[in-house]
Structure formats: structure tokens, C-alpha cells
Symmetry: C2
Subunit: 553 residues, 2 copies
């Protein structure tokens, strides 16, 4: 038996990285990478990174990887090889050489499929125009960078408001481009709870981004040079210099499917814990693969804009050594971006997703500021929403917005989710903090205490969105317990103000027959007020989750 041959099919960078890891593990491997295009494809995060940082040389980044693979590991990278067939029985890959126009084939001992994801190109007029970008190729990124540098792109329309879409919009915005985002659904940021998504929306709008929801793109109108100049939706005509299309990104599984590789319930390639498909010696990685949710145990697929470095390590090891390294069966789907001066992150399920999956979910929202927690003076509010299962109190998910603190909280709670932890586990952590304000608690403790009290039935919350929906209801009283000077800056429509320390003496101003929703800046005083009113015989009480700091409306 000769040298073991590893072939990588597809240009997603995860596959390239796995090949490098394999080469490091076993320098004897004969590795060939068949790229469909001229270069590896870039994932969402990297694309945005290179748009945002014009001083970073994207060619040298790409060629550094290529050269390192070639020089250090003798990995051959063959560009413009479009794979048409994987013949698993003969262990051979058939491809077209697009450069020279012939068909050829390669035999393999181990194969990695890394075809990634692709945008489902919609049948929309103008979609083929030169200034419509899908951000998946080096050419796209370079054209955008050149267009910005040349002053040609001053306005952009970004279609789709996923985390990747928002990240792309941010990269343009940070270069001074005027942005309109178009979302066909009612809510931006699918997968986040509505009031969290609306906080992001509010932040983006404050940064000057125009956001249109419930708008589907009907056509892209081009000028004589075949450049889109207008985006038409049912209610708007948006003039623009360029379009980024981030809707309907799906796993690219055509070649795999044709080869007989099993496609799982989530619509992507099914792999075992070694990242091997149903066909021995054929592995898959990246966005063409589905993963198992740590929480539900079900397969799931979401576009991952980051390189899955853990999977890279595991797969690289396994193709070099005949398996042996197992990937964690479940993932929490932790993801985080820094966009529009806000960290936006999530792990596990949102409250809506939890309900959809059949869980009875309880939630708590904590608001804390970075500056109070020793992270410099730049005041940044952090909003943390925890979702747990009512029955067994397992942590189902967390959504965080804010500064550095929010990202730290995310990693801690994702760790607990990953280990299958419960509220009890969360409550037993001792974490570092250096809070000068001794009455402030670590945000993880804070949100844990809140959910503990809710689960024990001690108080009930109402989400910002739910409150917004019932503000007009005459049976609902919004009771703002902040001080007079705080409320002078503004109150919710129809709210009445009784500062917390006057609550008892002014109790006769409240009607016991009505539902009273208590609000304060971050919800803590509202909670204290709630307890006072409960003691005084009030029954239909709610606290606004997270307080007005987390109220986007």
C-alpha cells in the first residue's frame, strides 16, 4: 500500500484547515484540494472582516495559507476544479478542469466534503447584475473593497437580517456607507426573541441604518451598465449603489447527495461523531453538514459564519489516524458578532424556539452595565435573557446584547448548557468579579436569582413585547416606580409614576382589580415594588422583564 491519499472537495475554508491539520498529524499524507473557484471561499465572518479592514491584505491572507500548505505540508491546491461526481465504490472523484476545459478524476483513500453553503439565487429581475454580491467569493469582497475605495459605493441595500447579514451590514457601515436593510419577515434576527431582536434594531436605527421589515424584494432595477440602481419592494423604491444578498443560504449538498451520502432531517449531510458520513472514508465538514443540538438532541442546521475550529481539529485528526477523536455529539450553537457598537450573541434556544420544540420555557432578563463591572468607563448596557425548561430546570438558551461583559456571560452560560447543567448548577458557580458597587451582583448570579424566583412562583414577568401589545388596554396599569427625576426623562405612554419609597403611602391610588405592570430602570426596584404590593393584597401583578433599559419600543 502506497501513501494515503486525501482529497478535499469544495472550497470552504473549514475543509482546507482540516487538510492542514491532517498534514500536521501525518506528514506522509498525499493531499489534494479541489477548489471550485480560484481561491477558497470565505465564510461570512471573514468576508465582513476584510470589508471592514481595508488595510488587511486579503490576497496575502489567502496566498499565505496556500503557500504554507504547499511549502510546509506539500498539499496541492487545484483551483477551478468543479467536482461532478464522487464514485464511492471506486473511491474516485470526477471533476472538470474549468481552466483547461477537460474532465479528469482522482483516486482517494479518504475524502472530505467541504462544499459549504450557497445562496439560493431567487428568480428576481436584476439579480445577475455586477453590483449584487453574495459575499462568498474573493472576487465579491475585492469588488466591494475597490468600489468603496473608489467612492462608487455610498449607499447599500442588504437583503436579509440574520446574524451574518447584520455583520455584513456593519462592515459596510463602518466604512461610512449608508445602509438600508430589507427583511421579508416581521422580525429581524430570526432565531432571537422578538424584544431582543428589536433592541438590536433600535441600536441599528440609532446608528443611522434604515430597516424595513415585511418587505420582499420584487426586482432590482439596473442602469445601462447593468448595475443595480434601485431595489423595489411592495412599499419602497430604494436607490442604491450596491446590493448584498444574504437571504436563503442553504447547505450545498448536490454532489454529496448524488454520491449516495445520507442527507439528514435538517437538510444537510449527516455525519457521526468522527465526522464520517454513512459511506466509509467519506467525511464532511462545515456548512454542508448538519449537527445535533445539545439541547434537543435533534439535527439542526444553521448557516455558521465562523470556522468551526473544533471540528477542524477533530476531522483533521480522524482522516490522518483512522478516527479516534470524537466530536462532541451536541452543539449549543454559540455565536457572537460585534456590530454597530454592540455585541450580539446567542447560545441554545430562544424562548420562542423553546416553545416550538415543545418545552415549557421560563425566562428572565437581567440588565447590567459594563462600566459598573470594571470594564472601563465607556458605559454600555448589557441585556441578558436566560431561557430554561420549567420541568427539569435545564438551561435551554441565552441571548446577550451589550459590551464585553455580555460575551463573557454568554461563554459561561454556554459552558453550563454544553455540560447539560440546570439552574441549580448556575446558582453554584463562583465567578470572578470586581464590582466596586457591592450591591451589584455578577450578571450570571443576577439572572440566575431572577429565574429561581420565577420558577418558585414568587413573581411573574412580562416581556417588553407583551407589554407593548397591551399598553392600550384599560384593564392594565403601568406603574413606574422610578424617582421623579428619572421619569422626567420620559415614561411609557399612559404610565403612572409612584416612586418606590412612596408606594405604601400612595397605595390607594392603585386599583386592585386591574393588572398592574411594574416598571423601573432595570427591573430591580419594580421587583421590590411587586413584593410590597403582593404583601398588601394585590394579585394581578407583573414586572417588566429587564426594565426600561431593555425596552426597545
Amino acid at each position: 500500500m502506497g501513501t494515503r491519499r486525501l482529497v478535499v472537495v469544495g472550497g470552504e475554508i473549514d475543509g482546507v484547515m482540516a487538510a492542514e491539520k491532517a498534514a500536521r498529524e501525518n506528514p506522509e499524507l498525499d493531499i489534494k484540494i479541489l477548489l471550485p473557484g480560484k481561491f477558497f471561499s470565505l465564510k461570512g465572518y471573514l468576508s465582513s472582516y476584510f470589508i471592514q479592514n481595508p488595510d488587511k491584505d486579503i490576497y496575502s491572507f489567502m496566498s499565505r495559507i496556500r503557500d504554507r500548505l504547499k511549502e510546509q505540508y506539500n498539499v496541492e491546491i487545484l483551483p477551478c476544479r468543479k467536482v461532478t461526481d464522487i464514485v464511492s465504490l471506486e473511491k474516485k472523484v470526477v471533476f472538470e478542469n474549468l481552466l483547461e476545459g477537460y474532465q479528469s478524476s482522482l483516486e482517494f483513500d479518504k475524502l472530505i466534503i467541504a462544499t459549504g453553503a450557497k445562496t439560493v439565487i431567487p428568480p428576481v429581475e436584476g439579480i445577475e447584475a455586477g453590483n449584487v454580491f453574495f459575499l462568498d467569493t474573493l472576487d465579491d469582497i475585492c469588488s466591494i473593497r475597490e468600489g468603496i475605495d473608489a467612492g462608487l459605493f455610498k449607499k447599500a441595500v442588504v437583503i436579509g437580517t440574520t446574524l451574518a447579514g447584520i455583520n455584513a451590514a456593519n462592515s459596510l457601515w463602518s466604512r461610512g456607507i449608508e445602509i438600508t436593510m430589507v427583511e421579508r419577515e416581521e422580525q429581524i434576527l430570526d432565531g432571537f426573541d422578538v424584544e431582543i431582536a428589536d433592541l438590536v434594531r433600535k441600536q441599528m436605527e440609532q446608528k443611522g441604518v434604515e430597516i424595513l421589515v415585511n418587505e420582499k424584494v420584487l426586482s432590482l432595477i439596473c442602469n445601462a451598465r447593468e448595475q443595480v440602481v434601485e431595489v423595489h419592494t411592495p412599499n419602497y423604491i430604494l436607490t442604491t449603489d450596491m446590493v448584498i444578498w444574504m437571504e436563503d443560504v442553504k447547505p450545498d449538498i448536490d454532489v454529496a447527495k448524488k454520491a449516495g451520502v445520507v442527507i439528514g432531517k435538517a437538510g444537510a449531510i449527516e455525519v457521526d461523531q468522527y465526522m464520517e458520513t454513512n459511506i466509509p472514508d467519506i467525511y464532511a465538514i462545515g456548512n454542508c453538514v448538519e449537527r445535533i443540538s445539545k439541547i434537543t438532541g435533534n439535527p439542526s442546521w444553521e448557516y455558521n459564519m465562523f470556522v468551526d475550529k473544533r471540528a477542524v481539529q477533530v476531522l483533521g485528526y480522524n482522516v490522518a489516524h483512522d478516527n479516534g477523536l470524537a466530536l462532541s455529539k451536541g452543539i449549543t450553537g454559540a455565536a457572537s458578532i460585534q456590530a454597530f457598537d454592540l455585541n450580539i450573541s446567542k447560545a441554545g434556544l430562544s424562548s420562542v424556539q423553546a416553545e416550538q420544540q415543545g418545552y415549557g420555557a421560563e425566562t428572565a432578563v437581567a440588565c447590567v452595565s459594563d462600566s459598573k463591572h470594571g470594564y472601563g468607563d465607556g458605559f454600555q448596557e448589557n441585556v441578558i435573557k436566560l431561557v430554561v425548561n420549567k420541568t427539569d430546570q435545564k438551561i435551554l438558551g441565552v441571548q446577550c446584547l451589550g459590551g464585553i461583559l455580555s460575551e463573557k456571560v454568554l461563554d459561561v452560560i454556554a459552558t453550563v448548557i454544553s455540560m447539560g447543567g440546570t439552574v441549580n448548577d448556575l446558582s453554584r458557580l463562583d465567578l470572578v468579579d470586581h464590582l466596586p458597587y457591592i450591591t451589584d451582583m455578577h450578571p450570571v448570579c443576577l439572572v440566575t436569582d431572577m429565574i429561581t424566583e420565577k420558577l418558585a412562583g414568587k413573581f411573574q414577568g412580562i416581556s417588553a413585547y407583551e407589554l407593548c401589545e397591551i399598553l392600550d388596554d384599560p384593564q392594565v396599569v403601568v406603574l413606574d416606580v422610578r424617582t421623579r427625576s428619572e421619569t422626567a426623562m420620559g415614561m411609557l405612554p399612559g404610565a403612572i409614576n409612584i416612586p418606590l419609597n412612596e408606594l405604601e403611602e400612595r397605595i390607594d391610588q392603585l386599583d386592585k382589580r386591574k393588572r398592574i405592570v411594574l416598571v423601573s430602570k432595570r427591573g430591580r426596584r419594580a421587583y421590590i415594588g411587586y413584593m410590597k404590593l403582593k404583601q398588601l393584597g394585590f394579585e394581578d401583578l407583573k414586572v417588566l422583564d429587564g426594565g426600561l433599559s431593555a425596552y426597545p419600543y
Copy 2:
């Protein structure tokens, strides 16, 4: 039965906070706090905070707490009441009123002991001088602030180099004071591993702090106004304007012991998970209490410079509601300070502590920089040392130095320790990162991979300290595999340079009979070189843990 009476003995702020929590839980409580001094005592972190931030009004901070307790919860705070006896059978506390000079007593239903810790005042000449501070009273802090403001304190000697000592030194240094630190042991930062402690020492020295080790203070020489002007040690005479004494801080358990409260093996009050002592209805909190180590299961006591907010919540609840809320049985002892532009943090055991406790410990050191991980451009190197048990691969501890990243890593690993996790659990986390450099991994993954390979026997490391000790050994070759341009900036004494990509062709320059220690900037290239040499038949190989970035010597 009348109103339930809660008495708090001792002035540590944890007890005061627990009383506030109890009042919030049960507004019917009749609460009295007997302070030995005029105000609550401040813990190390707060003392340093107020020295460091002269614009923060310490009186208003203290009186805000006092007023809130009084006004919102009707808690009576009685200053200058020195408790002489707790008569548990009669449920009564006997105290002297130092203001008016009479003895009196108070009956209680529930009692909280919060006597905190105190410095064992050594029989050193001059220790009573007015400019020797123990940082435990408001008067101390105010005198220091006034002295600095008046320009009287330009030089300070800080005795003791614990985390609290370094934090105190930092607060003076940040006010422009010239600092000498004196440590009687050979190493600073007791409880950290020596090479980590030495990295801290190096950083402090670079910031202009003079650090003397192996020096015991012999006497403090005063001037005519009874102010210390010189600190004498066996080898030095240090002129100074003030002294901060941070050595030999012990739990203050005199009153508790006299009352028959059980003192545990670690020398502090033993409490159960409800924070109740052996005597029913007598509870304890803060630095007078010992805790159980999550890792060893043994009682332990270390001075905690932070308020234990979790304990505050639990104890407050339990005295209000007859227990019911249990504190985590074990703690990891996570602690973190920001000093001398460095985050210094630790959870669990150091490698030395692990060996002392009978574990066979394996360690790994990862070095990563903040700037590569999306935390701004201010380059900050992070050093992460993980300690695990070889037999069951449980995580025993972690020490982190660096920027914000290091603190985030600490919280994640402390979470895994707290949940009793292993290397396997660590390897299965999916954590958020937004690393533009795709070959860089999340530092938690990086250190986990390293320890996994070490545990599998794939390579062996050597600590910076161990290497430093054998640099002169002729049987040891230090092989620096960095590029020529990197080594031009300096190499370890006696090291030879063969850049990684020349290793194979220059293999005959290496002697197989000698021990070869491979070094690189952060250890990654050294690891690759190690694997190459191993393949080529070299046997006695080591990689410098963490690389030269983590080498303090």
C-alpha cells in the same frame, strides 16, 4: 411570639449586606447591627478601589448604605459596640458601648457573625506608628487619601505580596506613588505557580515597582512625629512615607470561639450549607468562615478581598425564612484583580498546590494575545495555565494573566471546575469567538488540546522555571526554532537557533544523546519541531510550556 430579632455581630460588609437581603426577604424583621468601629469595615478590594479613585466619595458610599438600611428597612446600625460575649443558651449578645462606656446586651432570635479577618499585628518596633496602615478601616483609607492629596505620601512600602497586597500596591501606584514590596518568602503571590508569579513580578518591575523577596521586616524606624521613615530588613534600609501591612491576615474568630461555635480544620468558623454554625440560629459569613474546596472536598480558608455576593444572598434568605436556600458545598476560590495593567486571576489549585494535595498533576500553558481575538488593538499577551489530575482528568485549577480575554477564560474554566468537569468536558464546549486569524483557536480550546496531547503522552513540556534552573547544564540544548529576525531580538543564554523550516536539513547539528528543549514564541512552532525531531528518532525532548512569551526570566 413577637417580631423576629436578627442581630449582626461584627462590621464586615458581607454581614451588613446579608442583613439587607434578610430585610428585603422579610420586612417584619427587627434587625440590629453591632459595629465594632464607627463604620463597616472595608474589604481589600473596596479599600483599594477608594484609594485608586479619589473622586469617589467614600463617606457618601458608606452613609448611603447606612441610610438605605435605616430608611428602607428600618435596620438599626449601632456603631462602637464591641461584642464581648455571645451567650447562646440565653440567645443574647453582650457588648460594650465604647462611645458611652457602659456594658449592655441584646437578645436575638437569629444571629449573624461577620467579624471578618484581621491582621495579626507583629511585635515589630514602630508598628503602631500613624502611617502604618492595615487597610481595614475607613480611617485608614481616609488617612491614605488625605496623605496622597496633600503630597505627603510619595513613597510607600507594602509588606506582603498576596493578591490583596498587590491590589493595594496597584492602587497606590496608580496614584503615582513609588512602591517597594517586601515578601518574606522566596516567591511572590503565594498560591500561584512560581513561573506565573514571576511573570507578574516581571510586569510589576517593568512598571517601576521594586520587589524584594526573602526579606523579613525587622523594624520600622520612626521620626520625632512618630511616623515611620525607614523600613529595615536584613539586607535593605528602605526610606518611605508610609507602610501598608498586608501580611498574616487571619480569620477573626475570638468571640465565636468563646461562644462555643465550632472552629474547623482550616482555622475558621465551620458552617453548613445554610451557613449556620453548630449552634442553631447562629450563622456566620465572610472572612471569619471557612469553606469547602470544590476540588479537594477539604475545608479551606483564604482571605477573600471581595464580598461573597452569593453567600450574602443565601444567608440573607436563610435568616429570614428558617433556611431553605443552600449554598454550594464547594467553592473554586475564583479570584481576579486588575493591577499594573494586568489581569491576574486564578480558580482552583495551582500545580504546586495540587501536588501538595496528593494529585498527580499535568499542566499546559497557552499564550494568546487579546488583539487577535477581537478585543481592540491594545496588544496584551494572555497566559493561561491549566492544571488537571492525571488519573481522572478532572480540572483542578487555572491561572490566567493578561487582558480581558484571560478573565473570560477564567470564568469558563471555573464554571467547568464548579460542575466537576474533566478535560473531555472542556474539549466539548462550543464557545464564541471572532478570531480573524482562522488558524488561531479559542484559548480554551488551545489549552485543552495541549493538555489532551500531554495526557496522551504525545509530548512533554517543561515549565519556564524548570528550564531556567537547567540552562547551565551541558547535557541540555535549548533549541530556538523561531525565525532569524525574531531571534535577533534576543535568545535564551546558550540557546542555538535553527528556524523551524530549516530543522530537517540542519538535523546533524543536533546531538541525539542530549536533552533538547524546544522554544518558540508561544510554543506552537516548538511543538511542531518536537514532532519532527521525534519522528527523526530523537528521544529526550521537551517543549517550553507557553513559549518565550510566558518566560519571565
